[in-house]
Point group: C2
Chain length 332, copies 2
């Protein structure tokens, strides 16, 4: 590859795609040429990047000629079809879908955790699940000190995690409620305004959702911890942006709050916000639009040996998706 | 006591007080005479009960003459002062605050769990914390079958749990957001609209909030389980009414989904709503205004031996407060 890249963004008009452009701008990511790809219904839309307008092109088998780097943020079905095409055309694919994450030969990477895993990639690198990424930003620094063995987690996930249509759906339901009416649920199976939905993604045989198993499955792969266990309940909440996660984590070695604070204060990409006496703790509204995650509510867990309870929040469109993807590209 | 009661409601104009009147109406609770008591600022307000209007009187030391039964829903500070006065005037007090819950000689009762504990009361009976009540409605039937030892819980608590002013605060913040503005946070330390707050009640030395320790403390007392442990994160969410709780519970004996379903399906006061394939699970919007709690998302916990994960929702103004208080009165 050259030192400046011919970049394609697949799913450029989606919630993550738009963030990708902003992240590359902010981080001065070296882009020689940009190709914005999306489904035919976005054809002809224009998006700005570094003060220049780019037209959205339809995604086809010929979209990747001359592309060095292709960011995919288009969902699994299209990723399965088009990522191999992009790779075969010579691009390195960084895919935000779940399609390739658990394939043994595809690196799954959070640069703050396992940057070395990008080496030896075969043209496709996977970006982790957004809730998993936010949770691991806090768990991994603690793992390095105390040795993580298992986690109990409950998430509070923003609607932007379901894409731009879900943001509209919440907005419409909220506006209708103010006028005493109701707007239909289309993206979600139930109203999301003034409600919480204990379902993110579809259900598996074991009663968990796909989303709920990702912290265990992807966590094992990225932390190289094959015995790591995670019991998760994923819940959608009427928040526009930024996921939060309540965590009880058990470690193999004795924990202390001081050592935990130390580890978190030094950890890259995350800020310790933990002054309960001043009502300071991570909030989705505080981290929305921010690259860095926040961790707080740190306490010795009262139901686990060697356990810590904590609360993490992060902008899942950034650390959980666009930012992490660009960070992976920077590793290359 | 006679078979029909002279009843006082302290805090009659609050979120719980108003529900108490509705619950007594619905359950045909035998009321000979009703006295509505509140702070001086509610003086002269009128509330309807069984198609008759009652004026709200100011709470004084002389408010309880001739009263058989006094429902307190006025917070701890007033309860500490006035519950003994009411008792000394001959009333049985059913107190919704946390003031007396952990006093050894005060029964703390959920009628579906420990009705026998009301016997031997000394004039004051305590109503449990709302989140605790909702969680235990599902945990106790499982405890009877499998033997509960510990729980990891994260709550999704409605603003009505903070009273009528908090409902207004969410409503104002929502209305302002639709017009592109913002309304101030007064009841809560941060905006609650489009946000979640990992703080309910004040913080303790151990880093948990008071609210978070109630499931363990009150659960031990009501289930007569001195070794029960609960690690809880309590979170306020922008929902008007009904609390939800994500639970991972460990038992002493092996669990099975069939036996768990059976126990929950037969349990009083709670409905099993667990058809994930049809997107059916408990939701705050579904249980709001309902006496019965709902439990679903039942699955074998993937990080606990003898563990079950589940999701419970219940109207905390009803089962968590007013309904439970009237049920206690019915036991007497």
């Amino acid at each position: 590859m050259s030192k400046s890249y011919h970049v394609a963004v697949v799913g450029a008009t989606g919630a993550v795609g738009v963030e990708l452009l902003r992240v590359m701008e902010r981080r001065d990511f070296p882009v020689t040429d940009l190709r914005l790809l999306a489904s035919p219904r976005s054809l002809g839309k224009k998006l700005e990047f570094r003060a220049r307008e780019y037209s959205v092109e339809a995604l086809t088998r010929n979209s990747f000629a001359g592309i060095d780097l292709a960011f995919f943020s288009c969902g699994s079905i299209l990723a399965v079809e088009f990522a191999p095409i992009a790779r075969n055309a010579g691009a390195v694919v960084i895919d935000n879908s779940s399609a390739f994450r658990m394939e043994p030969k595809v690196p799954l990477v959070i640069p703050e955790i396992n940057p070395e895993d990008v080496r030896g990639h075969r043209g496709i690198i996977a970006n982790p699940n957004c809730t998993t990424a936010v949770a691991l930003m806090a768990l991994y620094p603690l793992h390095r000190v105390f040795g993580l063995c298992r986690v109990f987690a409950a998430s509070y996930q923003a609607v932007s995690g379901s894409g731009a249509r879900a943001i509209d759906e919440l907005r419409r339901q909220i506006a209708a409620s103010v006028e005493g009416g109701a707007a239909p649920a289309e993206v979600y199976p139930h109203p999301i305004a003034f409600n919480v939905l204990p379902q993110v993604d579809s259900f598996l045989e074991n009663g968990y959702t796909k989303e709920e198993m990702k912290l265990q499955n992807e966590g094992r792969k990225m932390m190289h911890l094959p015995d790591f266990r995670a019991s998760v309940t994923c819940v959608r909440v009427p928040v526009y942006r930024a996921h939060s996660v309540a965590l009880s984590a058990q470690f193999t070695r004795p924990v202390s709050i001081d050592a935990a604070r130390n580890a978190l204060a030094k950890a890259p990409g995350i800020d310790l916000v933990d002054e309960p006496g001043k009502n300071l703790y991570p909030l989705p509204l505080s981290v929305a639009g921010k690259d860095r995650c926040q961790v707080g509510r740190l306490r010795v867990d009262c139901a686990l040996e060697n356990g810590l309870s904590l609360w993490v929040a992060g902008d899942q469109l950034l650390k959980g998706a666009a930012l992490n993807a660009v960070q992976i590209a920077e590793l290359l």
